[in-house]
Symmetry: C2
Subunit: 194 residues, 2 copies
Amino acid sequence: MVNKEEFRRKVILTAGQIFSRYGFRKTTMEEIATALKMGKSSIYYYFDSKEEIFEAIVRNEANILRNELTTAIKSVDSPVDKMKKYVFVRMKSFEKLANYYNAIFDKNLDHFDFIEQIREKYDREELAILRLILYHGSRKNVFSIVNSEYTALAIQTTLKGLEVPLFWKKREVNIESRLNAILDVLFNGILRKQ
Amino acid sequence: MVNKEEFRRKVILTAGQIFSRYGFRKTTMEEIATALKMGKSSIYYYFDSKEEIFEAIVRNEANILRNELTTAIKSVDSPVDKMKKYVFVRMKSFEKLANYYNAIFDKNLDHFDFIEQIREKYDREELAILRLILYHGSRKNVFSIVNSEYTALAIQTTLKGLEVPLFWKKREVNIESRLNAILDVLFNGILRKQ
DNA sequence: GAATTATCGACCAAATTATTCGAAAACTTT
DNA sequence: AAAGTTTTCGAATAATTTGGTCGATAATTC
């Protein structure tokens, strides 16, 4: 290995796949070790505990999601497109992250607070992004909103509502159509009638 | 519950889903019990052990497969269609059963012999069916075969070969196309040129 | 209301599993 | 090539999980 940090990333990637498939409890250190072609005790050279690995994974996955989102809204120009893109990509990428949230339910619920921290931070950042898009959109007169702060909160609430079926992992629920419906409602509501 | 047997079937169905998803080891009695909305000790009123449940599942699944196959070949008339149908349905339905075979690898390999028994019985029955189809086909002059016994064995061997990728569970393997290719080869080989 | 059938909580022994630790490789640096 | 550093691992341990038992207790049938 080139350095410690690089190997940590490798562990996070490998363990991430197994955790997201089997959940926290059903994934053993030995499985992770075997997938990494090492003895399980070697992993403890890089991580202090199974939980630390898991937490690193969630943090990592949250970062990936954040990056996906920022590049997504940079890829289009108009505030309307930015907002549409944001909502769409957010829900699509969130599916991966939802696996880990589910794994936490599988995990000891005592350690629930750490993910709440990550989530709070993420929510704050999201609000800022939404607010910015809305602000520019209202300046350019394509959004007819009174207060971008409140509207951003409303949209975020809707997005959180969309998450729920992802958690309950019912494969029958068609996220796509539900998402499109909400996008429609959202924009017919806030777009200035022309 | 109406009677004991009926509840056993319910357990088999429920546990079957969990076993096929997580394998033998990773499925706990408590999970099965929770899925059945009971205490885990209650299950022992119907089954003696975790293994007995598992074995009942495999037996049950093998029966379902057998039924699917016999109704499938009854649904068509000509020997050629019967043979095509048989090979096709056999491979399609086998996918479910393969999950349990995989679960056995996960299980203690000491108890491998019981599945061998089921498998042997199943193989014998299969050979009889194949032989019958071939026999009628050659009587009606649509199969150009010397000995329906040997040809049945050859076809069964091919089918077993098709199973292998199912065991190795690589989702990348496209069973369908492989299956069609083999159906083609099989029939261009044994169908009388006209 | 006795007898039978079904469920469950508490418990145990065995197995599994996360984690520790010292020592041995493997690799760097002097 | 010796001394130091980093990385890996086997064996042991401590904690947890889990299959299974048993007696008590509901629920149902007779």
